[in-house]
Assembly symmetry: C2
């Protein structure tokens, strides 16, 4: 879904499209790095010097509840958000704390609505490890040590 559609989606669902909400969604549209709330807030603060953290949190919660963005709980103690809502896996590098999108075909849960009598509403397939960049660094270090 493109940015305009999502912005329009907000209105349709009975929520006002304020300048702050526009800014948050636009930020996520332009930054596909799975930013933390702090990163989003800090960046928006430069454009809108009076924007409040509460507004950022409220907006992210609203967008999430409208199904327009995705919440990521891959890293302990802090939230990240993703503009992309199509189901996909996330890879978290515990060395550099980056989050990567990865495509994994053939997930047996992809089409399931229920499991063990529980209603499935969202999948959060997370993978933890060391990313290619960090592996490369370790290798470079290894050669000279």
């Amino acid at each position: 879904m493109n940015l305009k559609e999502k912005l329009a989606g907000l209105n349709k669902k009975g929520s006002t499209l304020t300048i702050q909400r526009h800014a948050v969604l636009e930020y996520l549209y332009e930054n596909r790095t799975h930013p933390t709330v702090e990163e989003i807030y800090h960046s928006l603060k430069e454009k809108f010097s009076t924007i409040s953290k509460a507004t950022v949190y409220n907006t992210l919660e609203l967008l999430k509840n409208h199904g327009l963005i995705q919440e990521i709980t891959i890293e302990k103690g802090k939230l990240r958000f993703d503009y992309e809502i199509k189901p996909h896996h996330h890879f978290f590098c515990h060395k550099c704390n980056r989050v990567y999108d990865v495509d994994v075909a053939g997930c047996p849960l992809a089409e399931k609505k229920m499991i063990d009598g529980h209603k499935i509403e969202e999948l959060r397939p997370y993978i933890i490890g060391t990313c290619s960049k960090c592996l490369q660094k370790e290798e470079d270090g290894g050669i000279h040590s």
Copy 2:
């Protein structure tokens, strides 16, 4: 792996098996409800009135690093832990905040060591939704309303 094996495992890996560490691991062995740190601490506090939260956190971190327990980041803002380390999916009910174990056969990541050049060290397959108990409650409510 049974409790004795895990307790012995600690020693083998060069860590002292203190009474506190024993208590934490035993608590997880006996409580397979994926308890939060607060729940673990609160319960142990009744037996060991002087146990410190720092010790609980340190011990959980140690056990996790020794590969004896599993950390769960399914719920925003707080950690949970699982005695069971065999790969399995977790289901989080956002109505009652319970975490369930679920078995999902045929995960295409099960045997993979690498993905997109990243080294896979741990899988955290999380599912969010409404659990059977909460679905039942909603239904009961619906009948009478």
